[in-house]
């Protein structure tokens, strides 16, 4: 069982490493690249804490082998903020609207919400709830998460109109 040569782009940076084929993407990100934003929750593709973006799609990285992401463009929560370090509108809205309590689900939740608002910039409340249905939160009851995503959508629309 030889190691394979893994090559991908993570948060805009080219990454190369040797990895056992059975390495899961979440372990590769956390242990090889020290990107500990994506969390290991249920490990069974239910909770969404490990959500990352692969080639423009939200994916649960606990259920992807590292080889499947070969040559892919991966974004984790660490890549969501702007290059100057300022928070993305979704991150800022979670802070303003108390869209988190313990914070464990938050990286996956924000990474998913960030993609959702690119897929659907003006979602209804129902579309938001449906769009984040693959991310579990055991603290908030989702109310403030939904409010945060609504606020982020409005903020992004204002920014877009200004540009």
């Amino acid at each position: 069982m030889s190691k394979t040569h893994v090559k991908m782009t993570v948060n805009g940076n080219a990454v190369e490493a040797l990895a056992e084929p059975r390495t899961l993407l979440i372990h590769f990100l956390r242990e090889e690249l020290n990107l500990t934003g994506p969390h290991i929750g249920c490990e069974t593709s239910h909770c969404g804490a490990c959500t990352v973006d692969i080639n423009g799609n939200s994916v649960k990285s606990c259920t992807v082998f590292v080889g499947q992401a070969q040559d892919a463009d991966v974004t984790t929560i660490e890549g969501v903020a702007h290059a100057d370090g300022s928070l993305h509108a979704v991150q800022e809205a979670f802070r303003q609207h108390h869209g988190l309590q313990c914070g464990f689900c938050t990286p996956g939740m924000i990474t998913r919400a960030w993609r959702l608002l690119q897929e659907n910039p003006n979602p209804t409340e129902e579309e938001i709830r449906y769009g984040i249905s693959g991310n579990l939160c055991r603290c908030t009851g989702y109310q403030n998460i939904v409010k945060a995503i609504q606020a982020a959508a409005e903020e992004l629309a204002v920014k877009e109109a200004a540009e």
Binding site: M1, S2, T4, E20, P21, R22, L24, E43, T44, S45, H46, G48, T51, N57, S58, V59, K60, T63, V64, F65, G67, Q68, Q70, R112, L116, Y130, G131, S133, G134
Partner: protein
Amino acid sequence: MIPGSFDYHRPRSLDEAVALLSDHSGDAFILAGGHSLIPMMKLRMAAPEHLIDIQDISELTDITVSGDRITIGAAVTQSRLIDSEDLASACPILREASLQIADPQIRNVGTIGGNVANGDPGNDMPAIMQLLDAEYELRGSDGVRHIKARDFYEGAYFTARDEGEILTSVSIPVPADDHGYSYQKQKRKIGDYATAAAGVVLTVTDGNCTSASIALTNVADTPLWAEDAANALIGTDLGPAHIAAAVDAARAITDPATDGRGPAEYRTHVAGIMVQRAIETAHERAG
């Protein structure tokens, strides 16, 4: 949870994939979206020595609607089924069912081929394929063969596919333009398998049902094509007594397990309600 070790293969063509599967017969699994297989590997309920990732095989990712057939490559994801306008207009029950599978992240990787080939009685697409009288194409080192979805499922995780074969596509007869359809699924939460689910397609002319097909998900160790239930509708005005007869006929063939989703009697009861709702909704949509 760490899966066992394996060698990873990423063939560029179907011929190459079939050759790999044949070379490692019995020790190799096809890896598509992986969201059924990888959890099984973490639990060590599956321990393949070779994984053959089919994501680079472009001939498995086509959706074509031409003439009287819809052909969907095995590696087409649920998300692409949902996004396809061609499918939405030719056969909208595919979108309706896909939207009820798992959650957005999983639909981005889960494939139609994996959903139908795995033989998991909880999967939704097998019943949809039986409902629509779909045919599967299987390719092995001896060539290609076709088998109807209605003949494919033998038991939980046992199908007519041989170890050395890859399910490459599903082919569906285009339903009549004016058909009504519905897939009704009761589940405990988003992402769960069905407590019971039922799909219906039917046509209505001058107030009478002229054709009908019904299939059930997760109320036996295979999907169920409910032929007698559908026959109870054909030639009727789809009035309450006829729907009740179809519901009884559908319930009669169920054999669900008692599990976390409820006792067997309850799941049979729910299956009947799903059949009733699906008939009523399909009737409203027909014409």
